[in-house]
Amino acid sequence: MTLPHAPLLTTQQLTRRYAGLVAVDHVDLVVPQGGVHAVIGPNGAGKTTLFNLLSGLVTPSEGRISFAGADITAQSAHRRAGLGIARTFQNIRIFGAMTVLENVLTGLHPRLRSSLGAVIFRLPSFRAEERDAVAGARAALDLVGLSARAADPASSLAYGDQRRLEIARAMAQNPKLLLLDEPAAGMNPAETVALGELVRRIASAHTTILLVEHDMGFVMRLSDSVTVLNFGRQIFTGTPGAVRSEPAVVEAYLGARLAAKLQAHHG
C-alpha cells in the first residue's frame, strides 16, 4: 500500500560498477508521486545506467530499489513493466518493421489475458479484448499526435516522430512512472516546444515523469525537482532554481566543458 505522501520510487545506495569504473555510485534517489523530475549531468555521468537499473535492464552491483511501496530490486524488466514502470530510449528502439499502431499495441501486452484457446477459436472475449487494445493504442497515438500515421511502418517516421511514437508506446502501458531518456535529442526548436507541452499534459497525479535531458531550458521549464549526477555520484537534489547557484553543479559542468575543450585541442 502506498501512503498518499509516500514517494513513488526510492533507491537506496544504488550502485552499478563496470570494469574500472562506477557508472552509478551509491545513489539515493527519491521520486515523489506526481510531477516532472529531472536527472541531469554531463556525458557519461550515469543517467542512462540509472534508467537501465530502474527499468530492470541492468542488475545493481549494490543497493535496493522500491517502487510504489514494494521492493522491486529482484524483479525482471517485464514484471516492472506490469507494475507500472515504462520508459523510452536515448537510442530510439521502436519496432521498425511493425506498423505505428502495432508498436503502440505492444505497450498493452501485459494487459492481454486471452487464453490460447480464446485466441485460436477467436472467442468473443478475445475479439473484445483486441478491440479495446486497439482503442487504447489509438488514444495513445492521439495523445502524441500520430494518429494519421497509424498504419505506416514505424521505420518510415521522421526522427522526432519516432521519439513521439516511443512515448505513445510507453503511455499505452498506463504507467505510474515514465522514464524519458533525452526525449528532445535531435528535435528542432518547434518540435521541442511541442514535446514540452506533451510532457506537461502527460504528467499527472497518475503518471510521474523522470526526465533525462541535456537541453537545460527544457529541464528548467518543466521540472519540479532536479537531481544532478557526476561520475555516477549524486551531487545535488533540489529545485530548478537552486540548481543554478549550486557550486558543485557549476563545477561539474564547467569541468566537463573544460575537459571537452582540452580533448578538442589535443585530439
Binding site: H78, F95, T106, L108
Partner: protein
Amino acid sequence: MSIPPWLDDLLWTYQNLIHAMGVNGLLALSMYVVLAIGQLSLGQAAFMGLGAYSSALMTLKLKLPFFVVLPASVAAPVLVALLIGVPTLRLSGVYLAIATIGLGEVLRAVYLNVDVFGGALGLNGIPERAETWMIFGILAAGITGLWLVGRSGVGRAMEAMREDPTAAAVMGVNVPRYHLAALVTSAILAGLAGALSAHVSSFIGPNEYGFEPAVTILSFALLGGIGTPIAAVAGAWFLTLLPELMRDLPQVRLTLNGVIIVLAVLFLPRGLLGWRMGRKAA
C-alpha cells in the same frame, strides 16, 4: 468418400513425394516457430528423431494403436526441449543453437549404442499406419493455428522479440517464457513429423536425424521466409520438389540445395515469400 481414379493413380505414383511434402512442411513449421521469435535452434531433426524412435517403439514393442502412439510421440521431444530450454533460457540465443547441435550428436550415439533402438540397423518393419490425410490434416491445423496466434497479441510480442528482445521486455513481454513456449511447440511439431514419417516409411535409422537434416530444415524456413507460417512451408515444398525435377542431373542435384541456401540468404533475406503477417487494425 470416393476418390476419382485419376487422383488415386496420382497419389499412388507420387506417394513418397507427397508424404515428404507433408512431413517437411511440419518440420518447416517447427523451424518457423523458433525463428519467428528471433531464436536459432538446430535441434529440429533431433526432436523429429525422438518422435520417430519413441513412436516406433510404442508401435513395435508395446503394440499400441496409432491413435494413442501419435499423440504420445510428442512426450519425448517435449521433455528434451524442456531439459535443453530451461538452462539456456536466460542465456543469449547462441547457447540454444550450440546446445541443440550437441543434442543431435548425443542422441545419435544413444541410438547406435542402446540395444532397444536397434543400433546401426535402426528399427525395421514399422507398420504403415500414418495416412496421407492425417499428415496433411495436422499440417493444415498447424498452419492455421500458428496463423491465428500470429495475428494476436502473442504474434505482436513474437515479432517485437524478433526485432528487439530488450525493448520487448520493457513492453512487458516475458521473453524467457516465450523462448520456452516456442521451443516446446517446435518440439511437438517435429515430434509429430517424426512419428508420421516413421509410420509411412517402415524403417528408421540413427543417421536420419543428425546435423545435415537439421541444416536442411533450417533452409526450408530461410528460403521460404519467416514472416508467415505458410512461407516456411512453401520453402519446404520448394526444396522437396526441386530435387525430383532434377532427377536426371544427379551431380547438379547434390550442390543445388547449398547454392539455393546461399542465394536465398544473400538476395532474399526475408525469403521467397517475404511479406509480414497482415494484422488489420480492427
